[in-house]
Point group: C2
Chain length 273, copies 2
DNA sequence: GTTCCGCATGAATCGATAG
DNA sequence: ACTATCGATTCATGCGGAA
């Protein structure tokens, strides 16, 4: 079976070559809906749900019954309002047979700057968890975080500004040096993830930190499992899967991104951070 | 006109005594949908939207055109899934004439411990912002926060390029003049709020910290404006409004809560924290 | 080899202006 | 009227070269 490759094409077609029930985790950040016509995909908010659903039907087919689908998405502001296409998508995905198990929040500590008269900077995105059945594989111990002295001393003396500001890495012990913490008290994380976006120049505008897919890969797979990203872009999900000893398949409609990602995966020495 | 009182009754009826366009801010945390019958009439998730909509119609009527409605809500997990009543409610409120301007996230830093095989602790809630029109009152300066630590080192010594406007190379449209930042201590916040929960009254399921309504009252009103909480419960919104020099009206269907809140407001010395 | 520090960049949004 | 393009605004991070 196909594995550890970046495939070029529209995932709606490419996925037809994958067998049923063969993927353990789908983690993807699809191109966000956009008003403009020239950008990646050029899908407008009004057409987003119709565009997404046939692709999601393929996701449903290739995912194992015990597998999980994580969708990273955020609606944009249109005419002064948050658009509703993400809400509608969730409802339609349930009609398609998905269970909407959970919604995680990614808090982006370094969100895009700017000032407007009617809203503040948007510093969070949705990570929607969908499953095929109520019983799915989840390895909670793999993402435990150390309980710092923080929780004991810090909460006792919160100033007003502290209450508003984010000032900590409490829940961000993601991965890296977990072994250093063995022997200390470990606790389970919550459904709010704190991570900064990566500003590293990858010639791809949509860069989420590699720690984000890593966290979900640890949580929902074991070594040797299959991870799929049908909108792989600059390949962050594939890098995360490779780092963690998983097999992966990445798909992208943009051939340049496919080549960049393939190169990134072979030259991985400098790109694992 | 009626002001600074806690009124007993179902807000759907009680609100009929308020005039049109008379409220500057509605901040409320309605009783959560529940399978059990103890709460507000025992509203189940399946009936939640139908129960809420006629009340929201009254909110729309009494709110000033420049006013704002903030709804603190979070869907429950039912049968292994997040229930969809909040999503459906947003869509229906828009049909009713509301604009869905923004969704703030309340990150509950000390969410209640617990462990389940299929999900982590839920440590965030939605704060949905609705408006009657695109132009509404917003006083952003009232909620500015201290600039991050990055500025201490970053601004310590300026290079030559820092002193002039440095246009971004990549046509992202973003230039900067770092020297503008010297001496600036406060910045605008984002749409993610970090606050610990409080447990003022354990008999009321929805206990939020007084800092939460305070933040929105500062942002959307000035002194003397009218704040309404149609599900006032233990009175936190009313306390916040009083602290900030606003007028308020609180409504609750539970007579015991009405009495407790009225007492809390008179004994306010020890309860403003 | 470390630490320090300069500096580009990022899933943005609004209002005005031009076609 | 309605759409498309453009200019203005702004905060935190991590890379990479220098010390």
């Amino acid at each position: 079976m196909l594995k550890n490759q970046i495939l070029h094409g529209d995932c709606q077609q490419v996925l037809q070559t994958l067998p049923n029930n063969s993927v353990d985790l789908i983690f993807t950040s699809p191109p966000y809906a956009d008003q403009r016509k020239h950008t990646y995909g050029g899908v407008t908010p009004a057409h987003y749900v119709d565009w997404f659903l046939p692709r999601a039907a393929q996701f449903l087919r290739v995912l194992k019954p015990t597998g999980t689908f994580i969708l990273n998405i955020k609606e944009r502001a249109v005419a002064g309002e948050r658009h509703t296409y993400v809400l509608e998508l969730i409802l339609k995905l349930r009609e398609q047979g998905w269970l909407w198990t959970e919604e995680f929040i990614w808090h982006k500590k370094n969100s895009y700057p700017g000032k407007w008269p009617n809203r503040f900077r948007d510093s969070w995105e949705r990570l929607l968890q969908f499953n095929k059945q109520r019983n799915f594989n989840m390895y909670q111990e793999a993402v435990m975080v150390p309980v710092g002295d923080w929780s004991k001393t810090r909460l006792a003396k919160l100033s007003d500004t502290d209450k508003i500001r984010d000032e900590s890495n409490v829940n961000s012990g993601f991965g890296k040096n977990i072994s250093n913490w063995v022997g200390r008290d470990m606790v389970y994380p919550t459904n709010v993830l704190h991570m900064a976006t990566e500003c590293y120049n990858r010639n791809h505008s949509a860069t989420f930190p590699v720690g984000l897919p890593e966290w979900f890969i640890k949580l929902f797979t074991v070594e040797g499992d299959m991870v799929l990203d049908p909108f792989v872009g600059s390949g962050t999900t594939a890098v995360a899967a490779k780092n963690l000893g998983c097999n992966f398949i990445g798909i992208d409609i943009n051939e340049v991104f496919c080549e960049l990602t393939t190169n990134r995966l072979t030259l991985q020495t400098s790109l694992t951070q």
